[in-house]
Assembly symmetry: C3
Homo-oligomer: 347 residues x 3
């Protein structure tokens, strides 16, 4: 089940070149989609299925701003309408492909999977992309064989850094001692967490003397379907014990993560991390990316094994704990949107 | 769904040696079959399933003209009757394996999957095999993860050479300008296509000066279940614009292709191409085989992606175009045979 | 279908070290199980599923005699009860994991999958393990993609050595001339077979002059679910033709084999072979292990192909032969236990 009236990230803008065969096949919310870039730079997203005999359009070829199916040569404009059928002059009226609204923002390609009339670009989440001049952001991606609800639960409870990520981006159990301040957003939840005089993440501990501690601030938006954008700041230890640190800002960074449900069983995860130019240092953003690359392989192993268990026994016992509050809030929001769309008949 | 009263190609004759364990496991029209060659040269085709406990007979061993199951040692004659049960003298009356009529023709092994009384060898399609002294024919094979109906549609509309095969055996869009002359055969369709002053296929263009053109003739039989035999001739440009070219015959060739449905999801494709001895040249047939090898990998990619789409949405929109006339005729013929067998109770 | 009130072999004791992450994930009778060794040496077997959100416990970590789930940090004692929930003081009463009785015997780890009250260690089959000082036993394992009923049928009719194992552990067709003496055991069947003046197994024939023959004795227990323990002895040819040979004992050996159903489709096969210290010679047990390694790959090929046939046509014809007597007796016993448990509501 997927919210349809929602922007889904289809990948990085640099994945779509002007090449003749630069056709990107992606599956978003269980719809096979082909994406390509027009000569004017705009991006087209179409159903990856020729209306003739269901050939895959991503095996086709670009011609101007059109896409030609390379099985029998039918050509489709960027609006999905067929403009040429080899061997005949008349275009059958049913010869069109569904297209989807597309917006590029923060170097991500966003596709609206529902009613085009409702495709409001202001609903796209805030993020910091690699071409932002104020930040030095590095990018990567990974696929995980799990339903996106498990990813939502993972991202809404960062206490798992203590356990899953004990060898990488973890390094403190302050997560379980620190209650996030959560605020509902129209399509998500903002969480703020402050930590004081805690050790840095494991991947960075070699940079400091033994026993070094810092204040840290985590300000994260999780938005539908499953986007996670975290403003992560590190300070020298200050004197406050509530709210933002009054230490000296040492690292200012953003990690932007779009977890796109491919179908019920897989997510495609496009993510980045990088420092502000002001707090950058040679090799710093590269180290952050290496750390999150390693961490996401840790998550992948855990979530894939969890998902196998869930698929085997969908109705197994589930014991609630206090740390579930975040995951449950976000899953409740998702279910609310799903229920509304079911009622409207959108789904 | 498969026509049962029909010859199915099980492969090349050279795949069956006199070796003790030369037992070929094939699946034809969704029946698991084991094939072996007797000392007298004849070929036996049996269900690949021991009647005792369903062990696979292709893991057995040949003894004279018999096949011994190497699980518990039961021995079966070429008629499928059990002749020996280790540990007992009496042969249970049910101890027999179904056998199938077999004919070798044009270096292909043909198996009749229906009523043996109706197994008329004259129903086997014409072809030109590698041992034909008048032709220099090279052979190959490939498997495709698609239902054979998609292969029929592919082979009955050669306009796809323009698109799928634009880098290999294509080279002209004359296919969409040229209406084939089609004639119904008892179990198939003959199509004749003439082209005049067209560039040669891409794989051969380096042999001629830029801009060289030729007349070409395509005379192809497609027969049930999905055999394709094409007489392909190239002439210097003549003066006629209808019917056979009156130019000089430069290349006379046959490509014989048996596309055997393994089951609903796969075909096994046995094919060859070669020139007449009269128009042969060193390396010529090798080049033809390389070209068709490359082309069939192009088809494989397209048909497998198409089949994934078809399986995902069997009832998706299908817009008809004029070029569908050939595919539809042959699929209509297939459905006619299927309906007749359903009525007779053969299926 | 699996008998639940039964000991299932989960592997070799040396597979469970004292390492922090030495957590063994196994599936026994279709239950996912995690096993670990406590500091006191004892072994714990738990359901491999955290009661919180179904994370896989085998990705956790050992702490003393407890297991911590490394997703959200919940800790479980060796009795399965949760003793710690990060972020809260109160342990929810439902926060426990099912545990299973475990016994180590003959270097195998045995897990009781049914009612713990009935877990009687005396029901574990006799075997000879690698740490037995009187025997020089070597161990190995293999997985087979077949239902365990096919393994039972395989192990209860050793006549298949003549056929499947003709190049390895076979070497005589005396199996079909020799009727085993069978005795019912409470949970299995004992079979005794004597052979006189027969060639040795193929893998050992190079050790003797051509035509050398021996008396051989096979005394085998097959017990539920699918354990096979064979006392195999080789004698110089004696003069008796019934019962134990009166030749000189040349090789005294035990092969102990536990075939554990992982689920309906797979078995995990833990096995060993070795000579008595009295009849040992350098390299002898190694040769026996090599022989059985090769033989079990032969079985694997045959059983996997047979199982594909059985799955495709579960109701295909099955012709009975005299040699089925052994398999049928043991499968009857299995079905009796299954029916009893179904009646009791254990299954």
């Amino acid at each position: 089940m997927f919210v349809k009236n929602c922007w889904y990230c289809a990948g990085w803008d640099y994945e779509l070149s002007q090449g003749k065969n630069a056709l990107l096949a992606r599956r978003l919310a269980n719809e096979p989609i082909v994406l390509y870039r027009k000569p004017d730079g705009g991006v087209v997203a179409m159903e990856d299925r020729c209306p003739h005999r269901q050939a895959a359009l991503h095996l086709g070829q670009k011609e101007g701003d059109s896409l030609r199916c390379m099985y029998h040569g039918m050509k489709f404009g960027p609006d999905g309408k067929c403009t040429e059928v080899p061997g005949q002059d008349k275009i059958p009226p049913q010869a069109w492909v569904r297209t989807f609204p597309v917006v590029e923002k923060d170097n991500w390609i966003w596709v609206w999977m529902g009613d085009p009339a409702k495709a409001d670009p202001s609903l796209i989440c805030f993020a910091v992309g690699p071409s932002d001049k104020n930040w030095n952001v590095k990018t990567s991606q990974v696929s995980v064989n799990a339903n996106y609800r498990l990813e939502i639960a993972n991202l809404m409870d960062l206490s798992h850094l203590t356990w899953i990520h004990r060898k990488t981006i973890g390094g403190t159990d302050a997560w379980t001692r620190t209650k996030p301040q959560r605020t509902m957003l129209p399509r998500g939840i903002n969480s703020k967490i402050w930590m004081y005089s805690e050790p840095p993440p494991v991947f960075a501990q070699h940079l400091f003397p033994p026993g070094a501690v810092f204040d840290m601030s985590f300000d994260v938006d999780v938005t539908l379907p499953c986007n996670f954008v975290l403003h992560f700041q590190v300070y020298t230890p200050g004197t406050v014990t509530d709210g933002p640190s009054n230490g000296q800002l040492m690292l200012d960074s953003y990690t932007s993560q779009a977890v796109t449900p491919r179908d019920e069983d897989w997510v495609d995860y496009y993510y980045s991390w990088g420092t502000s130019v002001a707090t950058d240092a040679p090799g710093m953003s590269e180290m952050l990316l290496e750390a999150v690359n390693a961490a996401f392989l840790e998550d992948k192993a855990v979530l894939e094994a969890q998902y196998r268990n869930v698929k085997e026994r969908p109705h197994a016992k589930q014991v609630g704990i206090l740390l579930d509050a975040g995951p449950e809030k976000m899953l409740w929001l998702l279910d609310k949107f799903l229920a509304e769309e079911a009622k409207e008949g959108t789904l």
